[in-house]
Amino acid sequence: MSERSQQVLLREMILDLHYRLRLADDLFCNAAESLVSAAALENWNSRGEAIRKIREYSQALRIIHQDQCRIMEGKHAVFPAELEEWTFDLPDGETQAQLHLKRLHAIAEGLELVLSRELLKMEVSK
């Protein structure tokens, strides 16, 4: 495969990762909304729902990250350990969950930044 063809494939896959990150924003919204809800309602169901949605977001990011690592070299993101069901039972559970979600969102932003830089490099080298 020619170098140009490789570049075209790589660019296509980077754009796809961008696309997937934007879809993941939807999951982030769901998770954040559930967390606001859990903080306000303070019931077991809403807390469980919040944890479930945060995990869903985390899983989506992990997959995107794995695929990104497959096609690009660079530092690997360090994901926080998954939240446990009982996180909200801790005295600072709500804060921990918020920080966890914030951390995940920061990773998503980091991934997007790396992809954007790579795209920019490709545009410049054209």
Binding site: M13, L15, D16, R22, L23, D26, A32, V36, A40, H105
Partner: protein
């Protein structure tokens, strides 16, 4: 999400196979030849062999397929080559391999459309518009619209002989809408109608009706005036109610009175107010009532009033009757304008809950529509115009006057906009401001509506009771309470 991984194996309806390269293209062999990237439109409706692990295993196969320069007769040959299958393997073999080796089921596959593509000029235009969005200007414009809708001013015509107590009556019921200078000493004035108005009501005050030779010309003048108003295509300019004043102690209803009540005004819109009833004898009252009824005005629309220390007698009845007789669209403004019955006024404020609910429901639906696609780039700015409209409409509904809007509501809206444009939502969820979707947009807007409605209702009642308006500052804990309420029981919570 899980199905979108580089290398995931896609199968089209006509059994063409391909590898997922991106959300835009599939690697396949569309016609005999080399491997090509084709769009999903070309590839057609397809299904996918899913499971995360499957695609990981297939990624290398995809790269192998992409790198080869070999010519394939069809897409299945490409897969056979890249997965090292026997050369003539058929589609059934592939399916069996995917199930047995990878435990993969075939699932429906569809590319989710994201409309806010940064390359899409429509979105760029929208963002540019959002950057120029002027909260204050938009609020003022929507507030005016809401006032037009919810605060339609009634036109009340007050007619009677000079010195019959017209202006004093208006002042007793509606306050300072008629200036003191207009309340004369009974001296004759130029003939016609003076207009006095405020934000809530428009009063047409007759002048120049004197006993004797002016009666005929006054009647003609009134006929022309009433005709011109009622012929106006805009019903807001019509006369909605007539208060016809007759001085009680005079104990006399003139032919001019009768003619005006019966022939010039529509008796259905007329309330006859007999003033100075405290110095009118009972037999005079009975006689007056009898004659007025003969002019077509029923007894329950004849009100006796007088000025007494501690309040004007009969004015509450006049107010209630007027409220009942006015067309629905004009009732709210009249109730807001009257200063006779405070309890009724407070109740009217509480009765606005239904309209407030409709405003919030409309905004919530609009916000859900706006957030139907996640918008990660421009924060939650897309729902700000919707929320500004909602808050302005609520302000209009509760009759927060311009000054109140400037002092409290507008800074509140600006703060609200700030909250959403900032990177955090209410300090609860850092980062939420960077993306928004339908559920979030709708839920936040609904909760915001409840919060604002509660504040405005409280402000409106405080104003009636003469208390200082509560601070409309953003209270996180209070917002959480309304959020919980809204979330718990969406519409009933309102």
């Amino acid at each position: 999400m899980n199905r979108m991984r580089f290398g995931a194996l896609l199968v089209s309806e006509d059994r063409m196979v391909g590898f997922y390269l991106s959300h835009r293209v599939v690697l396949t062999v569309p016609r005999p030849g080399v491997v090509r990237a084709v769009s999903y439109e070309q590839f057609g409706k397809c299904r996918v062999f899913a499971r995360n692990g499957v695609a990981i295993g297939l990624f290398d196969a995809m790269i192998r397929a992409a790198e080869t320069g070999a010519r394939f007769g069809n897409s299945l040959e490409m897969v056979n080559y890249s997965l090292n299958f026997p050369e003539k393997s058929d589609f059934a073999f592939l399916c069996s391999y995917m199930v047995q080796k990878h435990g993969a089921d075939m699932e429906d596959f569809e590319i989710k459309n994201i409309q806010d593509d940064p390359d899409n000029p429509t979105n760029q235009q929208w963002r540019s518009e959002m950057e120029n969005f002027d909260v204050k200007k938009e609020f003022n414009s929507k507030y005016e619209e809401a006032r037009q809708r919810f605060g339609k001013r009634p036109n009340i015509l007050v007619c009677g002989y000079t010195g019959s107590g017209k202006s004093s009556l208006v002042k007793a019921i509606l306050g300072d809408v008629v200036p003191d200078s207009a309340i004369g000493d009974g001296a004759p004035k130029t003939m016609g109608y003076d207009c006095y108005e405020n934000d809530l009501v428009k009063i047409w005050d007759s002048k120049g009706l004197e006993l004797g030779e002016t009666e005929e010309s006054f009647t003609e003048e009134t006929r022309r005036f009433v005709r011109s108003r009622q012929d106006d295509p805009n019903v807001d300019n019509h006369i909605h109610l007539v208060w016809y004043t007759i001085q009680g102690p005079g104990a006399r209803v003139t032919d001019c009175d009768k003619n005006l009540i019966k022939n010039i005004f529509n008796t259905k819109n007329v309330i006859v107010v007999v003033t100075k009833s405290d110095i009118t004898r009972p037999n005079q009252k009975t006689a007056l009532q009898q004659v007025i009824m003969e002019s077509g005005v029923p007894a329950d629309r004849i009100i006796f009033t007088c000025d007494e220390e501690g309040g004007s007698q009969g004015c509450k009845e006049l107010m209630n009757l007027s409220y009942a007789m006015l067309p629905d669209a004009y009732k709210d403004a009249f109730m807001e304008a009257q200063r006779i019955d405070r309890e009724a006024k407070i109740q009217a404020v509480r009765d606005k809950a239904g309209k407030a609910k409709a405003i919030i429901a409309t905004a919530t639906t609009a916000a859900a529509g706006a957030g139907a696609v996640p918008i990660p780039l421009s924060d939650a700015a897309v729902i700000i115009p919707i929320q500004v409209t909602m808050i302005a409409s609520l302000a209009g509904l509760y009759g927060l006057k311009e000054e109140a809007v400037k002092q409290s509501a507008l800074p509140f809206v600006a703060r609200l906009a700030g909250v959403f444009l900032a990177t955090s939502l209410l300090k609860l969820i850092p980062g939420l401001g960077s993306a928004i979707n339908a559920t979030v947009a709708a839920t936040l807007t609904g909760a915001m509506g409840l919060y604002v409605k509660s504040n405005f209702e409280e402000s409106a009642i405080a104003k009636i009771e003469g208390r200082p308006a509560p601070d409309l500052g953003f209270d996180v804990e209070l917002f959480k309470k309304f959020y919980a309420e809204y979330k718990k029981n969406k519409t009933e919570a309102m």
